[in-house]
């Protein structure tokens, strides 16, 4: 079990302790909500994880490395941003897919750009939720103020990459 996991459990138990101090009812509600979320997440995740493994078998040898590899630089970051914005679906699709790409040789900075592009520009989410609830002007305002940001995130990741040697997963 890694340090990250242990740290998270410590935080979780501290937060649960704070709930308990407020009242046992609050703590019980927290545990119950965690259980409900687990029931919702577990089946999807058990289906999504094999997809990551299958995708990394399918990506042709050298493909991810050539277009999105650590050496692909700014162009790779731009490509990854575009790919991310076109990627449909929720986290259960995006994260296993990125895992598959990383395992077949994509660079971490490029994958930071892909996740950011998916999160910020994701057309699918914008069209099916943001537009009907908040309207076209809001979508315009938000896209205009955030269009360049996923690319910047990728470039920042490129600079910081030496500090996170474990990020490449290879």
């Amino acid at each position: 079990m890694s340090v990250g996991v242990i740290g998270m459990w410590v935080l979780a138990l501290v937060a649960l302790g704070l709930c308990l101090r407020r009242s046992p009812v609050v703590a019980r509600r927290a545990v119950a909500e965690a259980g409900t979320s687990l029931k919702r997440v577990a089946p999807v995740m058990l289906m999504a994880l094999p997809m990551a493994a299958f995708v990394s078998e399918l990506v042709p040898e050298g493909w991810a490395e050539r277009w999105l590899g650590p050496e692909s630089g700014a162009l790779g970051i731009l490509l990854a941003t575009l790919a991310g914005s076109a990627l449909p679906g929720g986290p259960f699709v995006a994260f296993p897919l990125v895992l598959g790409f990383l395992k077949s040789g994509a660079g971490p900075a490029q994958m930071v750009a892909l996740i950011s592009g998916w999160a910020v520009l994701g057309l699918h989410r914008t069209l099916s939720w943001e537009l009907p609830i908040l309207g076209a002007r809001f979508v315009m305002l938000r896209l205009a103020s955030s269009l360049a940001l996923p690319f910047l995130a990728g470039m920042a990741a490129e600079l910081l990459l030496p500090l996170f040697p474990g990020a490449s997963l290879r």
Binding site: V3, V5, M8, A15, L16, L18, C19, R22, A30, V31, E33, A34, L38, V41, V44, M45, L46, M47, A48, L49, P50, M51, A52, A53, F54, E57, L58, G90, P91, F92, F95, P96, V98, L99, L102, M111, V112, S116, A119, V120, G122, R125, W129, E130, P132, I133, L134, G135, M140, L141, R142, A144, S145, A153, G154, A157, L160, F164, A167, L169
Partner: protein
Amino acid sequence: MFRRHATFLVITALTLSAAVAVWMLRGRAAFFHALEATWGLIVTVAPSILGGLLLSAALRQLVPPGALARWMGAESGWRGLVVATAAGMAMPGGPVAAFPVVLVLAQAGADRGALIAFVLAWSLNGFQRILVWELPILGPDFAILRLICGLPLPVIAGLLARWLPIRWTMADAPALRDGAPVAGKPAP
């Protein structure tokens, strides 16, 4: 209810087609190799998911995101943007939950910069998504690197949104346009 099952069905279809493709294009050995990798992944991911779900459920009881709206007005400066960013990160759940909260915040007095910062912080750095998906699947090094790169972006976007000449008021939201008028603030 339907959406939940729709998600499961879509992901099942994707996984099954990937499995069939691996079997046909890469052969039996690659197929079983992938299944083995999956098992390893499940074993690594399970403890993080349980911890992450418990943490996010406990945090939700402690910090309701809507409580922060009155520090997010147009005169709140960059401090309001930081508060909006924090609220966005604390916001749990998917787009069904988050976009309506934007309306609640707008009604409580948040300006357009703060609303943009909120939406970006939720979609980029939502705590629950990081804990439940990103950290377990991609590991702490990648998750922290990505979070550091994403952390300043909502504030930048909020500053840009205040500066851009695109006005947005609640009256522009289709969700409110033909429904009951919002209490408190008349549409300008």
